[in-house]
């Protein structure tokens, strides 16, 4: 009965942990994808030579913050603008290119939180006329990512504490129920290790079972949820790319098992140590 309660408690905690972990990992992935699309654009001084542009590009490419550097020529910039904004009015411009001086570098970053440093550096470069940045998007995404990190850390810590408290209580009840047996063991000359070992072993096994059951549940639930979301919100498929179950489980399985065993060991060992000093 107590064992069932313990397994259920650990299962609930590991299940919540797994659920939260899956959500956080997917959200982080989505945020990372969104971040990878945020670029800083660098425009050059009028009349700058191609060699100068190439030199600036090489210098920017050496920066640690930069993951990708794309050169957009004046012609490409104009073609893109026409395609996106002018529609039927395109003919009125004839062969003129109003963006003749607007060739640029689109710079994609490893980590969007480094944008401020990078922009400061780019503005100091000779030959650079203007730097466009996506300050709001960058700040928002960085903040959301950090918020998720902190919230998840907090919730996981609370769950851990609750789990250890609950298993500790369960083991304490188990010890109370078996107090007579423990007393006899002690009087016969059993060492502390021999007396505690069954409780600690039981705690570890319960932790292992308690961690395994929710992993199985999460496996099937995750597959179903991802399938449902992909079908239901097919229009967002390009934006919302979910991680595969293998990507989630490659970390979740060892972490959850270690968590279950850890909770079982810690809860049972400390309680057994505390209550078995006969």
């Amino acid at each position: 009965m107590f064992s069932l309660a313990t397994v259920a408690t650990i299962s609930a905690c590991v299940f919540l942990f797994g659920l939260f972990y899956s959500v956080v990992l997917n959200f982080s992935n989505i945020v990372r994808q969104a971040q990878s699309g945020v670029a800083v654009t660098v425009f050059f001084d009028e009349g700058i030579s191609d060699e100068e542009i190439q030199r600036i590009g090489e210098e920017i490419g050496k920066r640690a913050e930069v993951s990708k550097l794309v050169f957009v020529s004046a012609e490409e910039a104009w073609e893109s603008f026409k395609r996106e904004n002018l529609g039927d009015y395109v003919d009125s411009f004839g062969d003129d290119n109003p963006l003749a001086e607007d060739s640029n570098y689109e710079i994609y970053m490893n980590d969007i939180s480094m944008q401020e440093n990078l922009v400061e550096y780019l503005e100091s470069l000779e030959g650079v006329r203007q730097v466009h940045k996506s300050a709001m998007v960058a700040t928002m995404l960085t903040s959301v990512n950090m918020l998720i990190g902190y919230v998840s850390m907090g919730i996981i810590l609370i769950l851990l504490a609750v789990s250890i408290f609950l298993i500790s209580n369960t083991v304490a009840i188990g010890i109370t129920v078996r107090r007579e047996e423990i007393g006899i063991m002690k009087l016969i000359g059993a060492t502390d290790f021999v007396v505690r070992a069954p409780f600690v072993f039981e705690g570890i096994i319960l932790g292992l079972i308690g961690a395994s059951l929710p992993l199985i549940a999460i496996y099937f639930i995750y597959l179903r949820v991802i399938e449902y979301l992909s079908e239901r919100f097919a229009i967002l498929n390009s934006l919302l790319q979910f991680l595969s179950i293998q990507e989630i489980f490659s970390t979740l399985v060892p972490v959850a098992l270690i968590l279950g065993v850890g909770i079982g060991f810690l809860g049972s060992f400390t309680t057994a140590r505390k209550h078995l000093r006969v």
Binding site: E180, E181, G183, I184, M185, K186, L187, I188, G189, A190, T191, D192, V194, V195, R277, V278
Partner: protein
């Protein structure tokens, strides 16, 4: 074998349980400790088992200074003591064989030896046929014999019995006493705390009488001394 020197035990309530008692028990002796409730008999047993430590004084058992014994050394010390209680203290969910084997398992005796020793000791106490029975299927006398088998299976040099006949009828009480005497003849030092006047008077063993935490009488081949 057992030496107590000026042993005093005062509980946290302030009530003295033992008041400067001194005692020598030689190897192979059979000793009755008698006295009213509250005379300090059970406290004495608990001190010998190292369930309690004295407020002052020395206790030497099997050449071990029990008072100075470190916590981690207590298990090994207790293996030198067999113990029997009035309420038997058997594991109710295990059969006779398991109850006796339990005493060997907790000190990591190899299974091969356990399989050899348990039937042998059960034969000694006359319960070889009932090795599969659960404690609830046994009479009080039989349960106490199981407890006795468990106490002696590890062959301790000292056997402590705290009111071993307290829950038994006269016939079973005598059977237990005969077994204790038999064990004593095998060389084991036996210390029996009892209220059983008839048995104490009949067996003519050493009798230590306690009253209000002090030893009031110590007779070599004594009898039960009335309190009044």
């Amino acid at each position: 074998m057992i030496i107590l020197e000026d042993v005093k035990k005062t509980y946290s309530t302030g009530a003295p349980a033992l008041n400067n008692i001194s005692l020598h028990i030689e190897k192979g002796e059979f000793v009755f400790i008698v006295g009213d409730s509250g005379s300090g008999k059970s406290t004495l047993i608990k001190l010998l088992l190292r369930e309690l430590t004295p407020t002052s004084g020395r206790i030497i058992v099997n050449h071990t200074d029990v008072v100075k014994l470190r916590h981690r050394k207590i298990p090994r010390y207790r293996r030198g003591l067999g113990v029997v209680f009035q309420d038997f203290r058997l594991l109710k969910d295990r059969n006779v064989y398991e109850n006796v084997a339990f005493a060997q398992r907790v000190i990591a005796v190899p299974p091969r030896l356990i399989r050899k020793n348990v039937p042998s000791v059960l034969s000694l106490v006359g319960l070889a046929e009932k090795y599969k029975s659960k404690p609830r299927e046994l009479s009080g006398g039989e349960q106490q014999r199981v407890a006795l088998a468990r106490a002696i299976i590890n062959d301790p040099p000292i056997l402590l019995a705290d009111e071993p006949t307290g829950n038994l009828d006269p016939k079973n009480s005598w059977e237990i006493m005969k077994l204790l005497d038999q064990i004593n003849h095998g060389g084991t030092t036996v210390l029996v705390v009892t209220h059983n006047r008839e048995i104490v008077n009949a067996m003519r063993k050493r009798v230590i009488t306690m009253k209000k935490g002090v030893i009031v009488s110590d007779q070599k081949k004594g009898g039960y001394i009335d309190e009044d």
